[in-house]
């Protein structure tokens, strides 16, 4: 009896060894594992999709490392400090967006980058985090569900950066920023009637807008707002992407054997359309593995955020989880032809940009909110 107990406790102690390290780091083990597996999967795919481009792989590794460091750092920060810093962060983001509009670096007809000497920085990426944080901060002290006056303030918080980013122009990111803010308001208990009304308004607005545009104008508008995404016309992208995925079948053509990817028929195959490379080379099974990893990450994130001790934690955590889902869904949807082509990367897998750092920072905050829950409450 005693023996058994001691064995059990020793086991618990040894098991707890790793857990204690994670605890000390304020990191959630399962979530970290999930994120690591997704990133590893992404590296394997990128090696093939980039046609064995090692420098590209190295840059991705460096970004992942940077993102991981920031994530671990953020996980150790007390959520109260995060919460108090939120308005300042948001204000800084708005100022940076204004700076981009004034002195931003023009690339491919769009002003998105701030040239900070050695590094270039996209303030809109910062806003992907700052807007939901700001919304959560605003709702934190107020009783839920939000009142009309709260909604008015929240609308201003969300729409100001959305408008600035949309004007860059970067419609995709603007939409994602807006979605991040909206998710916080939704989780805060925005009334269903208001949601329904907003949805109706959005649909009506879209139909109304389309009604008065000719086909070429619509196309021109889309390519004007997002010139990078359609160098050969959106149709070509989506057709080649579906050919790639469809020809992969159940088991795929094999790693480094996707003809659509290797022969350049698949556009943007290391960035926005890397999902198609997975579909082509690893087939339905490979895609299922990736989607299960994503589902685990999202599910775990949602679970963690439900454990949040206060409104700020829960809303922000939930927003991180749901925004991550939206990334995955839109990317998978657009490569399979389910939703229109908008330049949304597949999180942690697509090559490039500050999005890796942003995503991992979000999860760092989520971990911080969860691991510090006992300090608050």
């Amino acid at each position: 009896m005693h023996e058994e107990l001691s064995t059990e406790s020793r086991t618990r102690r040894t098991l707890g060894g790793a857990a204690r390290v994670l605890l000390a780091l304020k990191v959630d083990g399962p979530l970290l594992t999930g994120l690591g597996l997704v990133a590893a999967y992404g590296l394997v795919v990128l090696y093939s999709a980039s046609a064995e481009n090692l420098p590209m792989l190295l840059r991705t590794l460096l970004r992942l490392a940077l993102g991981a460091v920031i994530m671990l750092a953020l996980a150790r920060v007390n959520p109260n400090i995060l919460r108090r810093a939120t308005p300042w962060l948001y204000a800084m983001g708005i100022l940076l967006l204004l700076a981009v509009a004034a002195v931003g670096h023009v690339y491919l007809g769009a002003k998105r980058w701030l040239d900070l000497g050695p590094v270039q920085f996209q303030p809109s990426e910062l806003m992907k985090l700052a807007v939901p944080m700001m919304c959560a901060w605003y709702l934190h002290e107020r009783p839920l569900p939000p009142r009309w006056s709260d909604l008015a303030v929240l609308s201003a918080i969300i729409l100001a950066p959305v408008a600035l980013v949309a004007k860059e122009p970067d419609l995709g990111t603007a939409m994602l920023i807006g979605a991040g803010g909206f998710i916080v308001v939704f989780l805060a208990g925005l009334r269903k009637r208001v949601i329904a009304a907003l949805l109706l308004l959005a649909v009506a607005g879209m139909l109304f807008g389309m009604r008065f545009m000719h086909g070429y104008q619509r196309e021109r508008l889309v390519s004007y707002l997002n010139p990078e995404a359609h160098p050969l016309g959106a149709g070509y992208h989506i057709i080649q992407s579906q050919i790639a995925i469809g020809s992969g079948g159940v088991f795929g053509k094999g790693w480094m054997a996707g003809s659509q990817a290797l022969l350049d028929f698949l556009p943007e195959r290391t960035t926005d359309f890397i999902f198609s490379v997975i579909g082509e080379e690893f087939g339905l099974l490979g895609v299922l593995v990736l989607l299960l990893l994503y589902a685990f990450v999202i599910g775990r994130s949602l679970y963690l955020s439900m454990q949040g001790p206060d409104t700020f934690s829960r809303l922000l955590g939930g927003s991180v989880a749901l925004t991550f889902f939206i990334y995955v869904f839109i990317n998978a949807g657009m490569t399979t032809g389910l939703v229109p082509v908008v330049g949304v990367p597949l999180p942690l897998v697509s090559y490039g940009g500050s999005s890796v750092v942003t995503v991992l920072s979000g999860f760092g905050i989520l971990m911080s909110l969860y691991s510090h829950r006992k300090l608050m409450g």
């Binding site: 939704f186 805060a188 050919i243 159940v250 022969l263 809303l315």
Partner: protein, 677 residues
């Protein structure tokens, strides 16, 4: 206004949880939608997208088949393929285009003044397509480039196959030539089968046997990327690529005897004329020459505008194949046919002599028909009339027979319709057959007795080609057998070298003509060369073998027709055409020859010596003696038809389909009628 609300943590937690669950449900449903879409793409429509992906990256490149050779009966190759080297440039791989081209100019591989055009051409192509910048380099040029190849990245020698006629113009009218495929050619070929083929047979055997010579092109699948650029290392994707090797074209074996062909062309040199020699027992053409000729190699690699204009504007018409296409009056060479017709129809008693002066009155008219040069024949029978070519005798005979009778006989001797030679372009000539008469002179309206009279000496409404004359001579030589003249005796498989021999086509047998009639006329033709009064006596004197021949002097102007003809005073283009037909040896003929020399005057003086030299070359050995009957030839058929073989064979007419040709009555219909019990 509104009541002060206090934060209710439990309630807020509940709101959040409910919302989170709701969001979770939406996420699961969305995920199901994505999975459904993936199932549709990757399972339901997998086959469809697989085909699309395969078609995306695979380009099919043709591999042209090697064109079949054309080989003469003695084994000499008369049309072959020659490896050539073209200089190809791939713009993508050339660092400094202009500098590279100027360097090539320095090496004398390019013309300096061609550079601007060349650069424009190169710029107009895809940057990864290789562009030919110089065709057909000489051996020295190839060597000059090869040693400096390292200085020219992106420029390569590309081996090609080009048609090559090693003997130039030799037998060009029989062999024909190939040229670049024209818009007109595209209409009647399967364009898919010609992908990768640069040239197509335009005339002669090259055109008629295009299908057999061309072979079947193969193809090679290559991997291309989205820009159409071939992928140099297809790696793992190469496993699905297919290669179909080409099937080379068949070799065509000709009946031509190149020794004879060379001689015929040599003898015609500097003159306008034609020679056709054939084996009368199977229709094999031994020589087919038309002068002047031209070099088919000009066409094989693309003739220049200037060269083509020079050929077309030449007044001697080198592109005009006189042997098959020149339709001319044949003069007295027609007389043996008229005589055989008259004998068979009982219109003439061969032993009866009549007095023939230098001219003849058409009964009931004061129109005079003269003998050539106003010669007086004296008392002549049919035999002597042929020997000395007495026009007056044949005026009277033709008048007696009438146009209907003559017109009915001429097709039996191969006139008025194509002979059926196995190359395209043959002209039918003209004969006043009953059908032709009914069409052009209904109820004989407009046809005068004089028109009939001059038919008797091969003038007026009678035109024939040199080929028809040789074919006719062959019918005389075999005493009535008509074989379709042919150039191609067999097809050889280029791999196994197995030869498929073609059977000679017998398309007529004039069995209604009695052996006695044949004897009279052929004795007379023998007399033409042996009787001191014979028109070809002096040119054929002392022949080591007996020759049957007939001269012809075809008149081209009214003065000539009236006999008031002074050769020297007449412009050359209006002077008489000189004809000679002959076969030898008389009893067992091995060769039949027809010779035309345009505007050369008497048949005996210009054409007959040529015929004699050709027969000598064919029949005589180096010792000047007659060769044995079957000369050893690498490509001689195992069972050549000989007079002896044929004697036992009834008229097995393999080509009575002749009847299907319009305007020509079925040859041998009379044969069949006469054979019916």
């Amino acid at each position: 206004m509104s009541p002060v609300r206090i934060k209710d943590h439990w309630r807020e937690q509940r709101i959040f949880d409910r919302r989170a669950w709701f969001a979770g449900t939406v996420m699961v449903l969305s995920a199901l939608a994505v999975l459904g879409r993936l199932y549709y793409l990757q399972v339901e429509r997998h086959a469809y997208y697989s085909v699309l992906a395969q078609a995306n990256g695979v380009r099919t490149e043709p591999i042209p088949a090697a064109r079949g050779l054309i080989i003469a009966r003695d084994g000499e190759v008369i049309a072959s393929n020659r490896p050539t080297f073209d200089l190809m440039l791939t713009p993508d791989e050339v660092p400094h285009l202009r500098a590279a081209l100027e360097h090539l100019v320095k090496l004398k591989l390019l013309q300096a003044d061609a550079l601007p055009d060349l650069i424009r051409t190169i710029k107009s192509r895809e940057s990864f397509d290789s562009v030919p910048i110089r065709l057909d380099l000489s051996e020295r040029e190839v060597a000059r480039f090869a040693v400096r190849r390292y200085e020219f990245p992106g420029i390569n020698l590309s081996p090609q196959q080009a048609r090559w006629y090693p003997f130039g113009s030799l037998a060009v009218d029989a062999v024909g030539y190939v040229g670049t495929i024209s818009a007109g050619d595209l209409k009647h070929i399967n364009q898919a089968a010609y992908a990768g083929t640069a040239v197509i047979g335009k005339t002669g055997v090259e055109a008629e046997y295009e299908k057999q010579l061309h072979g079947t092109n193969g193809y090679r699948q290559i991997l291309v990327n989205a820009l159409g650029r071939p992928v140099s290392r297809p790696g793992v994707l190469a496993r699905d690529l297919h290669v179909e090797p080409p099937v080379p074209g068949q070799d065509v074996i000709l009946s031509l005897d190149l020794k004879l062909q060379r001689l015929a062309e040599k003898l015609l040199k500097g003159r306008d004329g034609a020679v056709v020699a054939l084996n009368p027992w199977n229709g094999d053409i031994l020589a087919l020459a038309s002068s002047p000729a031209f070099d088919p190699n000009l066409f094989a690699r693309g003739i220049s505008e200037k060269q083509y204009r020079a050929l077309v504007n030449n007044p001697d018409l080198p592109l005009f194949d006189r042997a098959l296409r020149a339709q001319l009056p044949t003069g007295s060479t027609i007389k043996p046919a008229i005589a055989l017709g008259a004998l068979t129809d009982g219109m003439v008693n061969p032993t009866k002599r009549i007095y023939a002066s230098s001219d003849w009155h058409l009964p009931g008219s004061d129109h005079l028909f003269h003998n050539a040069a106003h010669e007086v024949c004296g008392w002549v029978g049919l035999r002597m009339a042929i020997i000395m070519s007495c026009d007056v005798y044949f005026y009277r005979l033709a008048y007696k027979m009438g146009v209907d009778r003559i017109g009915a006989w001429l097709p039996d001797f191969g006139f008025g319709h194509p002979t059926g030679i196995d190359i395209p372009g043959e002209q039918p000539g003209l004969a006043p057959t009953p059908a032709w008469m009914a069409k052009h002179y209904p109820h004989d309206y407009g046809w005068y007795p004089g028109d009939t009279v001059i038919l008797g000496i091969g003038q007026g409404s009678f035109l024939a080609t040199p080929l028809q004359m040789a074919h006719y001579t062959g019918i005389l030589a075999t005493r009535g057998l008509s074989f379709e003249p042919r150039l191609v005796t067999g097809l050889r498989n280029p791999r196994t070298h197995k030869i498929h021999w073609k059977r000679p086509i017998l398309d007529g047998n004039l069995t209604m003509i009695s052996p006695a009639s044949w004897k009279v006329v052929i004795d007379a033709m023998h007399g033409v060369t042996t009787n001191p009064r014979g028109t070809a006596y002096w040119t054929m004197i002392n022949s080591p073998y007996p020759i049957a021949g007939k001269t012809g002097t075809a008149q081209l102007t009214r003065e000539q027709a009236n006999g008031d003809y002074n050769r020297k005073a007449t412009p050359e283009k209006l002077r008489d055409d000189s004809w000679f037909i002959a076969f030898a040896p008389v009893k067992a003929p091995r060769i039949a020859v027809a010779v035309l020399v345009e505007h050369a005057g008497w048949g005996a003086t210009a054409a007959a010596p040529i015929a004699r030299k050709i027969m000598n070359a064919y029949l005589l050995g180096p010792n000047g003696k007659l060769l044995p009957a079957t000369p050893a030839e690498p490509f001689s058929e195992p069972a050549t038809l000989t007079p002896r073989v044929l004697a036992g064979v009834p008229a097995t007419l393999t080509a009575l389909e002749r009847a299907s040709r319009p305007e020509s009555p079925p040859i041998g219909s009379r044969v069949l009628a006469s054979e019916a019990p």
